[in-house]
């Protein structure tokens, strides 16, 4: 059984930096970069965070595909843990929030292999707020009917929301429940603006829940994808609303969303789930606010010019430098020894 708390600790060990990242081949190629550059960026961002005692979070699946970043992150955690040896350095771990039915792919063998590097947090249909009558059996996870697609999308959204909350997991026969710390900062890059699987592009929804939780958001727009769309929206002036932040645009560009929205009319929607339109409105509300106070709204811990630079840069070293500096300011992460 899992419960959620509103309370948040600010201790360094409690810092969890989430990565919202996916590989968009065309976007990266247009910048003269490939998958290896993205992996390098990920490692250069993740390594100092771990050495500073914070943990990572990544809500990805465990399919061993080239554009999945669970395994590169696990390898970084594992290498850092091994390197720390007897140094006394407290190395963080990876929290992998995995929604139904993705977590069905995580066998005991996989989990056991990485257990000291990673805590898998399974987000069930019940945790997503679906009623017992609407919960589907695991065996039907491969179906492509409206109910299954709807439940998947609901659980995916719930995962993004629950990542931002402290959770307590009751393990059978263990006296104390296990604490899963909430995400306290997020780094976003890449991502699909269309042809996504849930109710919103992952980058948009994860940016929104992080902003709503008043946690720092580091958007690396220089590497394309939905992050670039969001970065451009933030860097614009005035009150013009980008069309990618409107429901009409998404209806027109993502047929899967139309199916989901049809389902939402037929099926009972969990009370905590905002409509797509309201979510896009809320996100645009933050965009408008940020246009007036960019570092304050995004809580980057950087100056206004630095935050703008972060939103634009496609230079890996520059991006890493800015994120690290921002995290040290905003989350008080310690300076690493030279």
């Amino acid at each position: 059984m899992t419960s959620v708390s509103k309370y948040r600790s600010t201790a360094i060990a409690d810092n969890v930096v989430a990565f919202s990242i996916s590989y968009q081949r065309e976007n990266m190629l247009a910048r003269g970069m490939g998958l290896e550059h993205l992996r390098e960026l990920l490692v250069r961002l993740a390594r100092p965070i771990l050495r500073q005692g914070a943990s990572l979070a990544y809500g990805g699946n465990w399919k061993d595909t080239e554009d999945n970043f669970v395994f590169p992150l696990l390898r970084v955690v594992s290498a850092e843990q091994e390197d720390s040896g007897d140094s006394g350095l407290q190395i963080g771990k990876l929290y992998n929030h995995s929604p139904w039915p993705w977590y069905l792919d995580i066998t005991p063998k996989i989990e056991a292999q990485w257990i000291n590097c990673c805590r898998v947090v399974r987000i069930t249909q019940r945790m997503a707020g679906l009623s017992d009558a609407d919960i589907l059996p695991d065996a039907s996870a491969d179906q492509a009917d409206a109910r299954t697609l709807f439940n998947k999308a609901i659980t995916l959204s719930a995962m993004r929301r629950l990542m931002m909350q402290e959770m307590w997991i009751d393990n059978p026969d263990v006296p104390q429940p296990e604490r899963i710390p909430p995400v306290t900062a997020r780094i976003l890059l890449g991502g699909k603006a269309d042809s996504y699987a849930g109710f919103l592009p992952g980058i948009f929804e994860e940016a929104l829940v992080t902003l709503q939780s008043e946690c720092p958001v580091y958007i690396l727009g220089g590497f394309g994808g939905a992050a670039e769309v969001l970065a451009n929206a933030l860097l614009a002036s005035g009150d013009e609303r980008p069309r990618e932040l409107t429901l009409d645009w998404h209806r027109a560009n993502n047929p899967a969303l139309v199916t989901l929205l049809d389902g939402a009319r037929k099926f009972a929607v969990p009370t905590h789930l905002a409509s797509v339109e309201n979510s896009l409105d809320a996100l645009f509300g933050f965009v408008l606010k940020a246009r007036a106070d960019l570092p304050g709204t995004l809580r980057t811990g950087l100056s206004d010019p630095e935050t703008r630079e972060l939103l634009r840069t496609s230079n890996i070293a520059n991006a890493v430098h800015l994120v690290r500096a921002g995290l040290m300011n905003s989350k008080k992460l310690p300076q690493l020894p030279a």
Partner: protein, 355 residues
């Protein structure tokens, strides 16, 4: 020097807790198992000595919590299996695991001196020394079985072997080194390779006589039973067909295994048998120590035989005593013979004593 008064610490069954977690991926991935095994590995409960012997059934076993994964796991050979619980491969894994567990349990349960030969008490967490097996053989008849047993012990087990060719330094006094090897606190078992010449070789007879002599446990106190410990031995029958030899009474009721050069895994059978017997000897000793007793009792950790009993001074003196021994009871024939030879003794099994 080996003598009737050589003393060892005794262990009680009731204060030793052995935890043998068979660790595989499901256990590693389960937070409840991780929590409780981690707790068990961290320390001893009051009045209890806990020993963890983790077993790795797959490669993920080493991902258990730090308190556990710092330990050297038992690793049965033949894993992973393609068929989980059937066939020859599975039997081999089980055999390998049983062999390793037997060896580990023997190491855990073997009574050790409270004070080392150097005069110091061992540290509480000090690793237990290796268990030593004394190999006794008559060189006159060749060294093939003894050499093969020694090679097996060093290549396939965590035991050590006392083998005269290796363990008596050139120029050292032969008798002193052998006596030292026999009386070493880690020597738990004895394998006698009984060839035709064995019974007529004085040093072979002396070795078996010294080793089979019972030891008075140091915790035997006034008002309670005397507790005696006998180390087990296995006799490897290596006489060639048609040869003759004199009997060796010192072997008592030792297990007998026939040697053959061409039988597969014979070394494993012999060594595992003697180590299993050593483990059982230690267990029975601990069990005997847990039995409420009085001064009119003598407790022994093996089935009684005349040669062994004659080494115990109170029995030789002929005073009436109850003799408690492990197991459910002796056969009528055995009891009749022992009662004839030792009329002052009443023979009772542990099970009878505990009723």
């Amino acid at each position: 020097m080996v003598s009737d008064t050589y003393v060892r610490t005794r262990q009680r069954v009731s204060n030793l807790q052995v935890v043998l977690p068979l660790i595989e991926e499901n256990m590693v991935a389960d937070q409840s198992w991780r929590h409780w095994l981690g707790e068990l590995a961290l320390g001893n409960p009051p009045e209890m000595h806990r020993v963890m012997i983790p077993v790795a059934l797959d490669a993920t076993a080493y991902n258990m919590p730090a308190a556990l994964r710092e330990m050297n796991y038992l690793r049965p050979t033949g894993l992973p299996l393609s068929e989980p619980t059937a066939g020859k491969a599975f039997e081999n894994v089980v055999r390998s695991l049983l062999k390793q567990i037997t060896e580990a349990m023997c190491r855990v349960m073997l009574p050790r001196p409270a004070i080392s030969s150097a005069g110091a008490a061992p540290l509480p967490d000090a690793p237990l020394p290796k268990v030593n097996v004394f190999l006794s053989h008559a060189k006159q008849d060749g060294t093939e079985p003894a050499r093969r047993l020694r090679d097996y012990i060093y290549s396939q087990t965590q035991l050590t072997a006392f083998f005269d060719e290796n363990d008596i330094a050139f120029g050292s006094k032969f008798s002193r080194v052998i006596q030292s090897g026999l009386s070493a606190s880690d020597t738990a078992a004895f394998i006698a390779v009984r060839s035709a010449a064995y019974g007529s070789r004085p040093w072979c007879r002396r070795e078996s006589s010294l080793f089979r002599r019972p030891h008075l446990l140091e915790n035997s106190v006034a008002g309670q039973a005397e507790r005696w410990f006998v180390y087990p031995s296995v006799v490897v029958e290596a006489m060639k067909a048609g040869t003759s030899s004199i009997g060796v009474s010192e072997f008592g009721n030792s297990t007998l295994i026939r040697w053959a050069d061409d039988v597969a895994n014979l070394e494993e059978l012999i060594v595992t048998t003697v180590i299993r017997d050593a483990m059982l000897a230690s267990f029975h000793s601990a069990l005997g120590s847990s039995i409420p007793s009085n001064a009119n009792q003598i407790i022994i950790n093996t089935l009684p035989d005349p040669t062994t009993l004659l080494h115990i001074p109170r029995i030789r003196a002929g005073a009436p005593h109850d003799l408690l021994y492990p197991g459910r009871g002796l056969s009528g024939l055995e009891l009749a013979i022992l009662s004839d030879l030792f009329p002052a003794l009443t023979f009772r099994s542990f099970e009878e004593a505990l009723l």
